[in-house]
């Protein structure tokens, strides 16, 4: 964690311990801290403070966005405008089971929320992401239907770092809304299970959500420029505290909460606010955004130097994901004939921390769904290695990796029974 972030959080553990919902002096200090943090975050996002909902992390924010839109049945939905340009509204029937568009390589917080909705009768389209790991906006256009209530596409992938054309996708959605205004949307069933229909103003749906957890400090986070309605961020990827996140919810969007309780965070996230974590998240985001251009330029140079070395000095290595349309800090390569976890452990022994990017270490032992989604075979997925660069990474450290890694691969290939044709 960034030292400045830790320092900013410090007073809110013991000195200013108040509950931000209390009326006494200590409570007001805590409330002030939370609202200042909200204002700071809003400024980075180019949003209004009231559009920021603090949560306990990226997973919760993704769930709130997806389940919250999907289950907003029965809510009053304010339309931006009717035919005459006046604000108006409609009530969405609670039996409505809409359609959601997402991609095959989203984070599991998005994928598994969508899978749950499928079980509940929603329809989900999982878009291909091509060999480069970049969504084609044309594919989004083709997938949109009158019943589509939500499009959820990550800003940058967490394993291969590929950056998605969020602005172009937003434009596709905007055009779709413009052309489909006021259409009749057939519902699958009503409460008795009979097919029925309603008039859903298509100038409201679909909403556009993006998980942007990987991007602060590297990419533009301005929600107006991006054209998104919902945006997820969290603290742990940006030298901030773990266990805190936020969801940007564009003014006018009514979400159904996933937790029920008090009235905190506009009833969308009940429970006493985690004051130090919220203060830390805002501080971390401010720092990341301030140094964005300089740090990105430095890391792009290091990243390309490292990728060049890996591909030229270790035979049978393949870069996963687009070579340049990727985050400045992400390197993901498949090293054939050697298996990812063994490489990780040998590197760990040498003091180098990296990950397989595959879930081989997870409960399922399944290979990375991301590497499979970019059309690479299982053998590539199990040999995928993800190196993340950070604020403290230097060229010297990369040279050190390149001093030990080739020998580790040689050793593992020596006792590997496979010889994959490239």
């Amino acid at each position: 964690m960034d030292k400045g972030v830790k320092k900013a959080m410090e007073p809110y553990w013991t000195e200013n311990f108040g509950n931000p919902n209390a009326l006494y002096k200590e409570g007001l200090i805590a409330r002030n801290a939370v609202e200042t943090a909200r204002g700071d975050v809003a400024k980075v996002l180019g949003a209004r403070a009231k559009e920021i909902i603090f949560t306990n992390g990226g997973t919760e924010s993704d769930n709130l966005a997806i389940l919250g839109v999907a289950k907003s049945g029965g809510n009053f939905v304010p339309l931006r405008t009717d035919e005459e340009g006046n604000p108006t509204g409609t009530k969405i029937p609670s039996a409505f089971r809409g359609h959601i568009v997402t991609t095959k390589f989203e984070h599991h917080a998005v994928l598994n929320a969508c899978k749950q909705l499928e079980k509940e009768g929603f329809e989900v389209t999982y878009l291909d992401v091509g060999k480069d790991g970049v969504v084609n906006p044309e594919d989004v256009k083709k997938a949109l239907k009158l019943e589509t209530i939500l499009v959820s596409i990550m800003y940058a992938n967490n394993e291969i770092g590929t950056i998605q054309p969020i602005r172009e996708i937003a434009k596709v959605i905007r055009n779709f809304k413009k052309n489909g205004r006021g259409n009749f949307v057939p519902l699958r069933t009503d409460e008795e299970g009979n097919p029925t229909g309603t008039k859903i103003p298509s100038s409201v749906f679909p909403y556009f959500h993006t998980d942007a957890c990987q991007t602060p400090g590297y990419l533009d986070l301005n929600v107006e420029r991006l054209g998104v309605d919902l945006l997820t961020l969290n603290g742990s990827k940006i030298y901030g505290p773990k266990g805190v996140g936020l969801l940007y919810v564009k003014n006018g969007i009514k979400l159904k909460p996933i937790l029920y309780g008090g009235e905190q965070e506009k009833k969308l996230r009940p429970g006493t606010e985690n004051v130090p974590a919220i203060v830390g998240l805002a501080k971390a985001l401010k720092i990341a955004d301030k140094d964005k251009d300089k740090e990105s330029a430095r890391l792009v140079k290091l990243r390309d130097y490292f990728i060049g070395k890996l591909l030229s000095e270790i035979p049978k290595t393949v870069l996963n994901g687009h070579p340049t349309q990727r985050l400045p800090n992400n390197i993901n390569i498949s090293i054939l004939d050697a298996e990812g976890e063994s490489i990780v452990l040998y590197l760990d022994e040498a003091g180098i921390a990296c990950s397989t990017g595959s879930a081989c270490t997870s409960e399922s032992l399944e290979p990375s769904h991301v590497i499979l989604a970019i059309d690479k075979p299982h053998a590539y997925a199990h040999g995928a290695m993800r190196f993340s660069l950070g604020r403290s990474t230097t060229k010297k450290e990369i040279d050190f990796v390149m001093k030990v890694l080739p020998d580790i691969i040689k050793k593992l290939r020596m006792f590997s029974p496979v010889n994959i044709k490239i």
């Binding site: 976890e341 063994s342 040998y346 081989c360 075979p377 006792f415 590997s416 029974p417």
Partner: protein
Amino acid sequence: MHPRNFLDRDPQGGEFDAEGEVGSFACGDIIKIWIKIDKETDKIKDIKWRTWGCATAIASASIFTEMVKENGGMSLEDALKIKPQDIAEKLGGLPARKFHCSILADKAFKKAVEAFRNIK
């Protein structure tokens, strides 16, 4: 990690009596075992392995081959009795979700023995 008894090259003709391979790219582990058997005593004279897989797969192959080579080589009959639980125990325990890896070493061995008996 200091794995033992692995084969660091392709085997030469006649060097071993039989081989067995199990696993797949899809499951993430492949292990191959070669055996040399004393035809008089049915004891294991030599055993080598190669693995593409996680650390557990490598460690279990290594320890399994050490177990069957102990005291001048186990008889095939005894070696076939080694269960995945025995391998895990010898390694000082394995996480439950990694258990399928350790099962591979004995399975590859069983396949090799099967091949050996078919030749005989």
